[in-house]
């Protein structure tokens, strides 16, 4: 059975992805900051839960050493969106910098640390949960802190796709949709179940031919 490693697996889209893959018989490595409070995640049969703060790069390296096994899909799902939104006029630069660490540098660090695990798996997929808010050509204003970290994450996806093509690794950016989670809020358009199912289908159908591209949860390509 294939293995998926999910960051930010204790709630929202990460939790639902863990549930759906486990139900399908995948081996699920669920990572979250505080396993002690991840009661939902721990309830799912077939999920091994690991403590991981993705911004602690030494801890990422340590987990990569501990988990000496192939990883078919690395799902870089952990991410943050600042509240209130940060843009021109109310920017908090320390917070902006911290957002880059979580949303851009950490997914890259995960790819570096788990490169070998992915390379020796069957499917060899790295999926970065991005956002349509990272689409640069969008002409609306505001929220530049979050948006710039996702544009930068898309560049990480694209650049990794070039670098890891020789290893047969497929790298994707995925917009999960506007989902009813803690981040998306209660009035969002779709449920975590719909989002996770769409992303799962996309990832299962992914081949090197589509590496380096940006899709939404329905499988439609999104412009940069």
């Amino acid at each position: 059975m294939p293995t998926i490693l999910i960051t930010g697996a204790s709630r929202g889209i990460g939790l639902e992805s863990a549930r759906q893959h486990a139900t399908d018989g995948w081996k699920v490595i669920g990572c979250c900051r505080n396993p002690a409070s991840a009661t939902e995640l721990k309830k799912i049969p077939g999920v091994s839960v690991h403590a991981l703060d993705v911004t602690r790069f030494d801890a990422v390296d340590a987990l990569a050493r501990d988990l000496d096994q192939p990883v078919d899909v690395l799902l870089n799902n952990a991410g943050q969106s600042p509240r209130p939104r940060l843009g021109f006029g109310n920017m908090d630069y320390a917070q902006w910098s911290g957002l880059f660490t979580v949303n851009t540098l950490a997914p890259f660090k995960m790819a570096e640390a788990f490169h070998d695990h992915v390379r020796r798996s069957e499917r060899r997929i790295i999926a970065n949960v991005s956002s349509i808010m990272g689409s640069i050509g969008d002409t609306s204003g505001g929220h530049v802190a979050y948006r710039s970290t996702k544009a930068a994450l898309n560049m990480v996806t694209k650049t990794l796709a070039g670098d890891l093509a020789a290893d047969g690794v497929t790298v994707l950016s995925i917009h999960p949709g506007w989902v009813r989670t803690d981040m998306g809020g209660p009035t969002a358009a779709i449920s975590p179940e719909q989002s996770a199912a769409g992303m799962k289908k996309l990832v299962e159908g992914a081949t090197p031919a589509i590496s380096g591209r940006f899709y939404d949860w329905t499988g439609s390509e999104i412009p940069w």
């Binding site: 910098s97 660090k109 204003g141 710039s148 544009a151 650049t159 070039g162």
Partner: protein
């Protein structure tokens, strides 16, 4: 005469901007980290009869940016955010220094954000009201493609900082439209500078000559877009 503020003015493309605007008699505010070591720039300033002045500022230092903005109480027609850093090509996958990545984001992204925030009032009370961000083909998600093997891969820090800078351009364009300020990304091409290397196709006078023409004709209808030195619109 119109006025221009150029960051990273001590060498390469920044220095060439100063040389050309100076030669045309513009009021040039030339900013760089260490004016004492900027011999070429100081020579240009000395020959300008006071029209070109040199200012010490590290754009990654928010307070230094703020104090320069307070000191220069004059309209600025064109603000050129040119200062930028790039890692070595050898610092690729598996060789990443994350502290350096943060430093590059600070100079290439936060720097232009600080400078634009601090100088938006100066630009808003000028005639032309143009803010330009120096981006790069290496920062284009469209151009970093599998079909372009030489360009694909590596330079994660530089590329991601420029993609993020491009995002800053489209958001600032929306945020500053109401004040009549035009914000554009500009691409210089691959130029023979310390950053571009000696084998680059273009020389600075040609690239900057083209970019000055582009900037001279930008108005609010161009805001939020990205133009090559030839004037051609570029994809994100």
């Amino acid at each position: 005469m119109p006025s221009v503020l150029v960051t990273g003015a001590n060498r390469g493309l920044g220095l060439e901007f100063v040389r050309q605007y100076s030669a045309e008699g513009w009021r040039v505010f030339a900013a760089c980290r260490s004016p004492r070591r900027a011999d070429d720039l100081n020579d240009l300033a000395a020959a300008s009869r006071g029209r070109t002045s040199v200012h010490a500022v590290d754009v990654s230092d928010r307070r230094a940016v703020r104090s320069l903005a307070d000191e220069l109480n004059e309209p600025i027609d064109i603000l050129i955010n040119n200062a930028g850093l790039m890692e070595a090509w050898s610092e690729g996958f598996g060789q990443i220094d994350y502290a350096k990545w943060e430093a590059i984001l600070r100079t290439n992204l936060f720097g232009p954000a600080w400078v634009t925030h601090a100088f938006a009032p100066h630009v808003a009370r000028s005639e032309r009201k143009v803010v330009a961000m120096m981006t790069s083909g290496l920062g284009s998600l469209t151009e970093n493609a599998d079909g372009n093997r030489n360009a694909a891969g590596k330079l994660y820090m530089y590329r991601s900082s420029k993609a993020a800078l491009n995002m800053l351009v489209t958001k600032l364009a929306a945020d500053l439209r109401g004040r009549g300020i035009t914000v554009v990304a500009i691409g210089p091409g691959h130029v023979q500078t310390d950053m571009g290397g000696p084998t680059a196709k273009l020389k600075p006078p040609e690239s900057i000559g083209g970019l000055r023409e582009v900037l001279a004709s930008r108005t609010i209808e161009h805001t939020g877009r990205y133009f090559f030195y030839t004037g051609a619109p570029q994809p994100w």
